[in-house]
């Protein structure tokens, strides 16, 4: 388990991390979301000692992270970086050996990943001759090469096409299912909602929500009602404790309180529109995110 315990980091006048406390658990995918500049990258770099915390700590299995342990973590930095002129396979073997594996095991792992990600035929090519997407795959292998217990991936989906995103999310789920602790940041909230059991929402250096996603959604005091109807847009005025958050042709999203009288609400909607469907649901991750960040 990875634990952030009151992690605080200031850069001059800017507080990048403000007493951040959250955990990422083994065997689960933890999505790390927040607006740009919220502190996601700083937090992830702190795991690897690339940022020195002013106070607080980052713990792995309850203990501070030393170099021996750190070498066994997998990290994909936001700013991708590998030797541009080094051959793909040599480069990955080098990085794997730095984690402490023997040449034989590292080579087997590298060849396995190259094969799986469709790069086996590019193994002897220089990195800078590969396309952007393929370089991203190589960067991912660099993080995975030593079968790490903890994977920290900063925006692993950025810049990927839809097929590659699907493949990447499958892979992340598979790694978590294999028992690894996986923390990854992303702006693709729908996807994070689909694949992550846990989420951490960070805003202006502060963790504003953290924990089991289903739990967070259930605990939210607001609920959403998605209404579909035929004909012209109805006049929603006069509905008490209801806020229209989205309205498109034939569809509206209403925000209501947790303890709303659903029967009364359905009747009220029926009086105003030719109702096709009425879906009552807890907030999605996007909605949680928006309300958390707006607060």
């Amino acid at each position: 388990m990875l634990e952030f315990d009151s992690a605080t980091k200031r850069f001059g006048p800017l507080t990048a991390l403000d007493a951040c406390t959250f955990t990422a658990r083994p065997g689960r995918l933890t999505g790390f979301v927040g607006p740009n500049g919220a502190g996601k990258t700083t937090a992830m770099r702190a795991v690897f000692g690339l940022v020195e915390l002013d106070s607080g700590s980052v713990l792995w299995k309850g203990a501070p992270i030393g170099p021996e342990v750190r070498a066994r973590f997998g990290y994909m930095p936001e700013e991708r970086g590998l030797y541009p002129r080094m051959r793909v396979r040599d480069q990955l073997v080098h990085l794997g050996r730095l984690c402490g594996g023997t040449t034989a095991t590292v080579v087997r792992s590298v060849d396995g990943w190259l094969d799986r990600l469709g790069l086996a035929d590019r193994a002897q090519d220089r990195l800078d001759t590969l396309s952007h997407g393929n370089q991203q795959r190589v960067q991912l292998i660099a993080a995975l090469v030593d079968a790490p217990d903890l994977l920290v991936l900063d925006e692993p989906l950025a810049g990927l096409d839809p097929l590659a995103i699907a493949a990447m999310s499958d892979l992340l789920e598979e790694l978590a299912a294999g028992g690894a602790t996986v923390l990854f940041s992303s702006h693709q909230l729908d996807l994070v909602e689909d694949i992550c059991e846990d989420v951490v929402i960070i805003h202006a250096g502060r963790v504003v929500r953290a924990g089991d996603l289903a739990d967070l959604r259930a605990r939210a005091t607001q609920r959403f009602v998605r209404v579909r109807y035929l004909g012209a847009a109805p006049d929603w005025s006069g509905l008490r404790s209801v806020e229209v958050t989205e309205e498109t042709d034939g569809e509206a999203l209403l925000r209501v309180d947790q303890d709303v009288d659903l029967g009364a609400l359905i009747d009220a909607v029926r009086r105003r529109a030719d109702l096709v469907s009425f879906v009552y649901q807890p907030p999605t991750l996007s909605e949680l995110f928006r309300s958390a960040v707006a607060a």
Partner: protein, 396 residues
């Protein structure tokens, strides 16, 4: 595995990646061939002094031509004799460069410009010899006997060079060796610089430092590139020794095993000193373009050290020359020069080695701190002061 083990992996990567580069291998080959050629070729091409052309016109005593040739032979110069019917023809030949001197009536020497003293002595000697023989014959003395009496004892030439006990050959070899050392220290030091900047600007350093301490990364890089440099310097030294032995050249007695061995030692010391500084400064630059401006001051110091080493030439036994060979920034170039000139005592070497090792130890501590703080800094290039100020007690 952390620390030293990882540093060694980094060193091996440097050796393999750089040692595989065709440009590098080609430049090494070129240097080896160049060194061997510089030693062997002059010995092969050395055919002695150029032949001289002597023009004769007017009355010339019998036997002057063989006497000229004999005089030439005595000093290893081939004399070619040309006859001209009139002084005007002869003078035209001198002016055109067909003859080096025109002998008129065995009494006057005409030169294109100033008299060539060596040739003048030679021609005059031949004329005197022939004249003495003629006069001896007229006086009824056996010409051969008088010649035996007059035959000069052999006199040989020794080139002293500028300093006592050193031949110009020693000096030349010392020059070349210092040049090679300067080239090697600056080339491999610059490789450390560009390697650090490459890792930083490509952000590879982020991936590396997530797995290993910054000091191990820098140490591995310096050691790996240093081993590559050491291999090149040793190869050059061996080629120079082998080539020197092959042609048994008396012109380059300074190519001695002890001198070559000291040159190798001083490469290691000089490289360690400068590479540490280059590595630390490389971490201050953010982009490849900034590398040379960030490292400019060190390069200037290195060049000044090179010039200081050369400035001791001709005054190798003075106090300031001795100091230059002790001071760590200049010692790696000035001391091997001093050794090659045969002017280094054991305590000179001891002082210089100890001072340089102490400086290296100090620079490793300082450079390591600056590197560690600066290598992860992004944005504009750091100044040395910024990097220093960021250092706080208890930092990694």
């Amino acid at each position: 595995m952390t620390g030293p083990g990882q540093a060694w992996l980094v060193a091996v990567r440097e050796l393999r990646e750089r040692g595989r580069s065709r440009v590098f291998l080609f430049s090494v080959l070129l240097m080896l061939v160049g060194t061997a050629g510089a030693i062997v070729l002059p010995a092969l091409l050395d055919t002695g002094p150029a032949p001289r052309d002597v023009g004769l016109t007017g009355a010339a005593p019998a036997g002057l031509v063989p006497a000229l040739r004999a005089q030439g032979e005595a000093v290893g110069t081939t004399i070619r004799v040309h006859r001209y019917d009139t002084p005007a023809d002869g003078e035209a030949a001198v002016r055109d460069g067909d003859a080096d001197v025109l002998v008129v009536d065995a009494r006057e020497l005409e030169w294109p410009k100033r008299a060539d003293e060596q040739l003048q002595a030679l021609v005059t000697g031949a004329i005197q010899l022939v004249t003495v023989r003629e006069r001896a014959a007229e006086a009824g003395i056996d010409p051969d006997r008088i010649l035996t009496v007059l035959a000069p004892p052999p006199v040989s030439n020794v080139e002293l060079g500028q300093a006592a006990g050193r031949s110009p050959g020693d000096e030349n070899a010392a020059f070349v060796m210092t040049l090679v050392l300067f080239g090697a220290i600056s080339t491999f030091g610059a490789m450390v610089l560009s390697g650090v900047v490459e890792e930083k600007s490509s952000r590879t350093v982020e991936v590396l430092l997530a797995r290993m301490p910054a000091r191990s990364l820098l140490a591995g890089k310096i050691v790996g590139i240093g081993l590559l440099g050491l291999a090149q310097v040793v190869a050059l030294g061996l080629v120079a020794l082998a080539a020197g032995a092959l042609v048994d050249s008396v012109d380059i007695p300074a190519v001695r095993p002890a001198v070559v061995a000291w040159a190798v030692v001083w490469f290691v010391l000089g490289y360690a000193l400068y590479a540490t500084v280059y590595g630390a400064l490389g971490a201050l630059a953010t982009r490849t373009e900034d590398a040379s401006s960030v490292a400019g001051p060190v390069t200037i110091v290195l060049v000044l050290g090179f010039m200081a080493a050369f400035a001791t030439f001709g005054s190798i036994d003075t106090t300031w020359a001795r100091l230059v060979s002790w001071i760590p920034v200049t010692a790696p170039l000035a001391m091997p020069f001093r050794v090659a000139m045969g002017a280094a005592t054991w305590w000179d070497l001891a002082i210089a080695v100890v001072l340089t090792l102490a400086s290296i130890a100090g620079l490793v501590v300082l450079g390591g701190r600056i590197y560690t703080r600066a290598i992860l800094h992004t944005g504009a290039s750091l100044t040395l002061r910024d990097a220093w100020r960021e250092v706080r007690p208890g930092s990694r």
